[in-house]
Symmetry: C2
Subunit: 416 residues, 2 copies
Amino acid sequence: MSLIVQKYGGTSIGSTDRIEAVADKIAKFRKQGNDVVVVVSAMSGETNRLVSLAQAIQEHPAPREMDVLLSTGEQVTMALLCMALQKRDCGARSFTGGQVRILTDEDHTRARIREIDDSRIHAELDSGNVVVVAGFQGVDDGGNITTLGRGGSDTTAVALAAALKADECQIYTDVKGVYTVDPRMVEDASLLDTITFEEMLELASLGAKVLQIRSVEFAGKYKVPLRVLSSFEEGEGTLISVEEDSNMEKPAISGIAFARDEAKLTVSGVPDVPGVAYKVIGPVSDAGIEVDVIVQNVSADGTTDITFTVKRSDSERARDILNAQATVLGAADVSVDARIAKVSIVGVGMRSHAGVASKMFKALADEGINIQVITTSEIKISVVVDEKYLELAVRALHSAFDLGDPNYQPKQDKQT
Amino acid sequence: MSLIVQKYGGTSIGSTDRIEAVADKIAKFRKQGNDVVVVVSAMSGETNRLVSLAQAIQEHPAPREMDVLLSTGEQVTMALLCMALQKRDCGARSFTGGQVRILTDEDHTRARIREIDDSRIHAELDSGNVVVVAGFQGVDDGGNITTLGRGGSDTTAVALAAALKADECQIYTDVKGVYTVDPRMVEDASLLDTITFEEMLELASLGAKVLQIRSVEFAGKYKVPLRVLSSFEEGEGTLISVEEDSNMEKPAISGIAFARDEAKLTVSGVPDVPGVAYKVIGPVSDAGIEVDVIVQNVSADGTTDITFTVKRSDSERARDILNAQATVLGAADVSVDARIAKVSIVGVGMRSHAGVASKMFKALADEGINIQVITTSEIKISVVVDEKYLELAVRALHSAFDLGDPNYQPKQDKQT
């Protein structure tokens, strides 16, 4: 018998029919003898409906009242799910964040969990009930309702799993798990059985948005085994584990991530003196523009070039800021290229496998793809290329690192 | 400076525009230097939406989860109203029933308030904030969310006013107050300045559904001055007071109530022995049929007749029950008349004014209206008449007791 925390998000419980389907899954799981704690989000569309109501009144409502408003979304779902479970003769009781009590700081709309009281949940589990908890919410010391911000329900699930010392935290989504690459781009993308937390963090931040980064960090920190799986289809999903896979045959690379919609800015010919990188990035960051990759190479003649990427929609604004700074910087030129894409390979295996980088660069060269920028971390190598090569680059790398699904059956265009 | 509890119901806050209008009213009141506690219902339509969601899953959901679900309705309103108040630079903070803490018994969906902790509200009022409280809900000893049942928000408002020793509890509705008679039936119906709790109870139970009976009982018990007024129009409304009006000129009658949709059943020729009334009414009541008026007159020849009224929709069922009992009862006949109506005059003044009854009967006789049944209480006289005379009877009595609005201007059909 295991203690499992399961989390169901917006689309998994987007209608009363979907709630019934999820209840089937949970009831079956319970009948197998497991203790089950379920964390739910608001039904899809509900949060937007509530936000619209607030904005009809005030553009920037007080965060405290916004939390009071938004927290009703999960409360509706948890009550409906309990009804659906009880209909299946599966005892169930719902609890808001405040009822559990999930204690957070006072930072409304983006509160952080401080402490979870597990006594009430344990008492309910001991009585044989499934415990359904509202995700995304808690209370502060003063008893005020707080919310955890976007993706907060994943965080609630992981935090509960940590507090309850659950055997596994299962995040049900609309995908079957974590793939080696986006299956919409590469047909034979394969589902990963396991992935490490570090790899998942790199993949998540690079655009494979299966899980919220914050919950993955949380799970890694508290060593909570985390599983991503589909609420629509059967399957074991992907286990995100603390342990590196001991399988000797594990490939060096776990997956390939990519980002479109970025733009590259280069400030060239700036004096190669201490503080110049700050002078370039500082004003951009102060303007609230998120900076992704930053690269500076060694300089030859006392000047250097600094390149960084931002969201494409921010590129004009970033360029204007840099142009205004150009004389202060003593820069020769500020250039923008909005037609770029970023491709990354991720894997803890590259720590021990030499030649991963060269294999990557060769695969791209074989396709005639020019690499504009290279950055690396311990378990990731990213390159910036012309956006027209994005698909080609991703497919070439997926194939070069043998990531394809061995059971993949290509679709037949015509009968032979 | 006064401490006022105001309650706004569903139609008063049926849209964000309406919430803004209510916020105008409250902010103005606050700026006049009053301490204000506001109790809100769910926005009109919201409770029905939530009930539909539940019933899509289960016909009879568990009451505990139903309360979790329904209590979100008021929580949404209270957050939106606080936003609207803050937009008007009027400090405001919202509290759920559990946050206040409004402690109830454990009787989900129809809980009764046991105790209210007023410390948090007083602290907020002392900080200069308007306090917005979710109506209709509380928590039990175990911290479970409870609801008070239909009309529960009125009860919350009265209970808060009692706990806070408020100077007045104002119930805002879609009518201007309590009238001498339904203005849809009698054009010159006049708005009452004051009415006693006892009169209000008789009028409410007789169909003038301005306030929930339960909240009036509560207000009477705790001597909370209760005022009914419109959230759509200006005006002082009607004060429901503990004190009888000391005005010598106060008329004997405060208002006229009536009920359509009733049916009259008569069991005639039953032996006039102890227990016979129970034998007639018992089985009807056991079948869950609500019995209104019951009359039994003295008997002449060892038998008697018992007459009672029920909702018209229950009359067939009540007759079948009585027919099945007829031999046990030894009744000569069971007859049903579904074409009746009940008209009542209500007023504490009739205690001290002789001749009220005879004035009533004369007014009806002058119009040729036959009285079928008469019942009386200390402050009420009810008669049952043929339903076709209902409007005529009500207008005749309204006029006979001089209840018409002296400022009423009849509409001109044509110019003279």
